[in-house]
């Protein structure tokens, strides 16, 4: 893995289109945010001198100083609790929790405090906090380093949830998340950190809560977020060889979910497959399936299919590729919906 971790400090100036990895794109967005708003603070475990375990915060401490970018002791609950207090003192905190599974020790602060403080105080104490959370699997990491917590966060009133799928999306969604006065859980698909793509360094144009069509198609819609978007594009490319044109919809905002965008796509294609890494039962795929069914029931030619992880704890290295939705499993689901 180490050889893949490159320094994230990236080239390019505002308005330019440059090729960046996702970690560089996030780094770039953090620099923009730290630069434009003196109230933005970046903190967490190892985000300072090291630049984060994924080097996403590389160089930020050097550029913006130890007051704006700083390491904390190793305690996730206090990191999020600290974010609440900083927000109440007028700051705009951007904490990082090092890995998805380590958000669990901070769930009390996230759910009972961050998500509710604006409500509890009737709007007196807003929580403009963006929790950066390296998420999802695919890098053969140790236990608790490959979890998908989106259903938990999306189920929590008061939180918004974003999950970018590529460097350009990562750049835009982070700018929107941090500038938002609502708390956002920003889930970074760590399997895609090193994926390089052209990124236009410009202001986001699509509003919060909108999805996007990554690849148009007419026979079925694949709905995904995070790293599964790339997998679905691969599936669509393969299917195209057999004349099946799959539309790939990147949900990207998991709360609020773009119900209208889902319905618009599926009412055209008449079939939908939702793909996520998280376990099946009570996963976000069920919510998506319901929104599609509600939004375009009369247009549906088949029940919405779900391709997900299994209802098992996230497995170790060799079993990871068998747990995660594979191209074959998505293709089989496509076949099921086409043959229904």
């Amino acid at each position: 893995m180490t050889e893949l971790i490159e320094r994230a400090a990236a080239p390019g100036t505002e308005g330019e289109t440059v090729e960046l990895s996702m970690q560089q794109a996030i780094n770039r967005a953090l620099r923009v945010l730290l630069d434009e708003d003196p109230e933005v603070l970046v903190f967490g475990e190892d985000v300072g001198a090291l630049g984060g375990v994924f080097r996403v915060t590389d160089g930020l401490q050097k550029e913006f100083g130890e007051q704006r970018v700083f390491d904390t002791p190793l305690a996730e609950s206090a990191i999020m609790g600290m974010a609440v207090g900083l927000a109440m003192n007028g700051w705009r905190p951007v904490p990082e929790l090092q890995f998805d599974g380590f958000a669990y020790p901070a769930i009390d602060q996230i759910v009972n405090q961050v998500a509710r403080m604006n409500y509890r105080t009737r709007g007196a104490a807003p929580m403009p906090i963006t929790l950066r959370l390296p998420s999802f699997g695919g890098i053969q990491a140790p236990e608790h380093h490959g979890e998908s917590l989106e259903a938990l966060f999306a189920h929590t009133p008061g939180l918004k949830v974003a999950a970018p799928s590529d460097p350009a999306e990562a750049y835009s969604l982070l700018l929107q998340s941090v500038r938002s006065d609502d708390p956002v859980v920003y889930m970074e698909p760590k399997a895609r950190y090193w994926d390089r793509r052209p990124v236009r360094l410009s202001e986001p144009t699509d509003p919060i809560g909108t999805s996007r069509i990554v690849r148009p198609g007419r026979h079925a819609t694949l709905v995904a977020w995070g790293a599964m978007v790339h997998k679905c594009v691969q599936v669509a490319e393969l299917a195209a060889e057999d004349g099946v044109e799959l539309e790939v919809l990147d949900l990207r905002w998991l709360k609020p979910i773009d119900a209208a965008g889902l319905a618009a796509s599926v009412s055209r294609t008449k079939r939908a497959v939702v793909v996520h890494e998280a376990p099946l039962t009570a996963g976000l795929g069920a919510e998506v399936a319901t929104l599609i069914t509600d939004g375009c029931f009369r247009d549906l030619a088949a029940p919405v299919q779900r391709v997900t992880g299994f209802d098992v704890p996230y497995p170790a290295g060799p079993l990871e590729s068998q747990y995660l939705p594979t191209i074959d499993r998505v293709l089989l689901a496509v076949q099921r919906t086409l043959e229904y």
Partner: protein, 345 residues
């Protein structure tokens, strides 16, 4: 050394404080006592669904809060801080609204009051105080954060994490533990390993002070010293104010199932208001007539707060949706509309 057990008798001194200060402390403690009595009555009358009494803890709360500066400090309470809120100048009808269950966090403005929302997660607000304090240092302010918690909350991981963070960041924060010796039904010896919360401070490299929580002068002096240290950049302090919860945990509790009420009775006799009144007369800070006048004024104010909260309007149902987000979502707007249609049926 502050006593862990009450013999029913004690004296305190307030000679080291100014007469003006002790009169103010007495007034706030008296008002809190009367308001507490009114609140229990409101619960009995069915106006409050439940109430958590602060009786016996007035010195610990008022003595500490009165040492703060409400124009620049910030208080992070849990849910048994009525006397602290009163002494700090919080709008009390709005504060008591939480006990009428009008709004969980209370109806006072937490940012104007510089007194955080009522919080039922004991220990949960303690790291907030540290974050606020770190933020205060970052902006070059002189404010101090005050975190209230109890002996029960001292077992929570958040309290440990917060103290460690505060030590590492040299944050201007005071960890004020009201050790009332009962975490609902569990006594100190089943709750606090090592027997002292103040002693834990040493492990974090920060100051720890044990103080008689029924001696308002001692509490005030200890807190003022901690405030001074924090303002000057000397970092955090743990204050453990040893007191006693003479009332049940809440109006839903039944202490007869777990403790000997004779013990509580001896603590009722070691009442912080009685101690203060005697000490003020001894120090020549006020005579009986003066104190009787304060009693009458306090009773009147408590009644006004009582009437205010009993008569306060219930929140409108649409407030279910109003404050979930700063920028609401289409989803929630749809749910709001559905609710509207349902209530209009």
């Amino acid at each position: 050394m502050p006593p862990r057990e009450s013999t029913g008798q004690a004296t305190i001194t307030v000679e080291h404080l100014s007469p003006e200060l002790t009169r103010g402390l007495y007034r706030d403690m008296r008002t809190a006592r009367d308001l507490d009595t009114e609140a229990i009555a409101l619960q009995r009358q069915g106006v409050f669904p439940a109430y958590v009494s602060v009786r016996g803890q007035e010195a610990a709360q008022v003595g500490g809060a009165a040492a703060l500066d409400p124009t620049r400090d910030f208080v992070f309470p849990t849910y048994r801080e009525m006397a602290a809120a009163l002494a700090y100048g919080v709008e009390m009808v709005g504060y008591m609204a939480t006990h009428r269950a009008l709004w969980h966090g209370g109806l006072y403005d937490v940012m104007d009051s510089r007194f955080g929302a009522v919080n039922a997660v004991v220990g949960g607000p303690v790291p907030h105080a540290v974050g606020w304090a770190v933020g205060e240092r970052l902006r070059g302010g002189q404010g101090v954060a005050m975190a209230y918690f109890g002996d029960g909350a001292s077992s929570e991981g958040d309290v440990h994490e917060a103290m460690n963070f505060a030590g590492v960041f040299t944050a201007p924060v005071i960890f004020f533990c009201q050790n009332n010796q009962w975490a609902l039904s569990v006594p100190n010896h089943r709750q606090v390993a090592g027997g002292s919360i103040a002693a834990r401070a040493q492990g974090y490299g920060i100051e720890g002070v044990l103080v008689d929580g029924n001696d308002v002068g001692a509490v005030h002096t200890a807190t003022a010293e901690a405030v001074r240290r924090a303002r000057e950049g000397g970092g955090p302090t743990v204050i453990e104010a040893l007191t006693y919860r003479v009332e049940p945990h809440s109006t839903s509790d039944d202490p007869g199932r777990y403790r000997n009420e004779a013990e509580a009775d001896r603590w009722r006799e070691r009442d912080p208001l009685t101690l203060l009144r005697a000490a003020m007369i001894e120090a020549g800070h006020a005579d009986e007539d003066h104190l009787d006048r304060i009693d009458a004024e306090s009773a009147k104010r408590a009644e006004e707060i009582r009437d205010g909260v009993a008569e306060a309007a219930e929140p409108h149902g649409s407030e279910l949706f109003t404050h979930v987000f700063r920028e609401t979502t289409e989803d929630l707007t749809r749910q709001h509309r559905t609710w509207q249609e349902e209530v209009e049926l």
